[in-house]
Amino acid sequence: MPLNRDDWYDTSRDLEWTLSYVDPEVAFPTRWSGAQGIPAEAWQAWDEPFRVSYRDYVRIQREKEAGVKAVSNALLRSATYEKLDPAHVAASQLHMGTTCLVEHMAVTMQSRFCRFAPTPRWRNLGVFGMLDETRHTQLDMRFAHNLLRHDQRFDWTQKAFHTNEWGVLAVKNFFDDVMLNADCVEAALATSLTVEHGFTNIQFVALAADAMAAGDINWSNLLFSIQTDEARHAQQGFPTLAVLMEHDPERAQKALDVAFWRSTRLFQNLTGPAMDYYTPLDQRKMSFKEFMLEWIVNHHERVLEDYGLKKPWYWDDFLHSLENGHHAMHIGTWFWRPTLFWRPNAGVSKDERAWLNEKYPTWEENWGVLWDEIIRNVNDGSMEQTLPETLPSLCNLTQLPLGSAASRHDLAPHQLVYRGRLYHFDHAVSKWCFEQDPERYAGHQNIVDRFIDGQILPPDLTGGLAYMGITPEVMGEDVYDYAWAKDYAGTESD
């Protein structure tokens, strides 16, 4: 009778040898392990919640792959893509362009776990994580490649991270920090726990539910399948957190508080507009805020508190931003639509507006008046008034526009001088994040810094678009050609 996995698991996961030719610090530099100040024996307590053996892994991943491929092959022969709402398609292009290469960056992060993690148990699991992330990158590429014949914007699945498009730079900046440049412990806190256990659920489960309702079975199925891997390998973060809570709880709290704010801002950009504006009204399951309360507040934060962590100190700011930040990102991205590689949907027809007001009681007061101005200009034929001539000022932490973290009633300068340079922030919390580790962020130039520095020529929107790699075939334009504004024709000019 063959042994069960649990019979041999403890022996196999502790496969380790004693170094005799090299110093442990040379083989496992603290710079990459992140184990500073934590005694080597402490890692004996590292116990993974989600056990995996190679044999099970291969068998189960094979089945997942077969499932995704069967659906995608079946749909390739049907005309499902042509039936999709173009605003929903924009959500999938936004996802592919900003996510595919993050999956690829995650391969590097997981391989760092394989090589440098401070316990063999964790190094073992890193192998599966690395294979997972390779799979995610390839799934995205395959999905997008099949759709290239419909729309070359899917080319940005691979291309986006090789451009300087501003939104892509914001995503890349965050993941450079928490995946490529992070030691194992920090990556576990910021990526495994905050991103993979928390925020990816918003995109890969909640938005996937919207996508299924919108008839995009192929994309929904792919997102879902990816998240089944994420749910497993995200669990690498918890035993690491448990060790830290024993030996350095302050470091854990701080790293999680920084990562939570940065993730909030990023997903207000990635998922918020897709859920509350791009998904066709009759196919929306819930609002972005409702999904965030379900997944991030009730689901994610509660587990952290079980480990003895406190909610981030800026919790009230977070809840206030939840009402506003993605509406700000949405009106901003729509206005700067020539800088996008997807076609945004304004999503403010009268019916959609009623929905927004029901979900967000302050929407009319905070955002409706701004859209009214746009609507007036569209209906008067003053299109130039609805388009940008310059670039927005950006935050030196999040790389997102200043003023986009809350509403027009919250505008205030958040600045500091560090080593003689003036830095700007989109929120007091972003400034706080910078202050926790200024050297990490200080050297980076956001797009506007580069503009002022003379790196973008000619120094106008045309030069900016060329610098961002935006070409006429992909340049963002209102996805319904302003048809939604006709709702208001003749009624709004008060």
Binding site: A209, M212, N298
Partner: protein, 114 residues
């Protein structure tokens, strides 16, 4: 105890634990198996069409034996992963039993959205 539909208030309750399963046969079997394996608890089910939350309060046990019985065919617990994009609470996995739990009942106030 009963299998109940989860109200929005219950969804915000801080002590819920258990899997999130893609809607379908497996989700139905998991609901029944969780009811069998947690005889002292109500099973709270939230169906969002595409995914289903299957939760109990405090601890949630799922055994391979119950899952097989409810699915009506041989199945290993490890295969749950194929249709489980998420789960709520801490997790302990053994060949024949998964356990979702919190160490501290009543910790945190996730329902408190101020």
């Amino acid at each position: 105890m009963a299998i109940l539909e989860m109200t929005p208030d219950a969804e915000a309750s801080p002590d819920l634990v258990g899997p999130v399963i893609r809607a379908g046969n497996l989700a139905e079997a998991v609901i029944e198996a969780v009811a069998l394996d947690n005889p002292g608890s109500d099973v709270l089910v939230l169906d969002r069409d595409d995914y289903v939350r299957v939760h109990t309060l405090g601890t949630c046990r799922l055994t391979q034996a119950s899952l097989q019985a409810c699915l009506g065919q041989p199945c290993r617990l490890a295969e749950l992963e194929i249709d489980m994009p998420s789960f709520r609470g801490r997790l302990k996995t053994r060949d024949d039993e998964y356990l979702w739990f919190y160490n501290q009942r009543g910790a945190g106030t996730p329902g408190d959205q101020r």
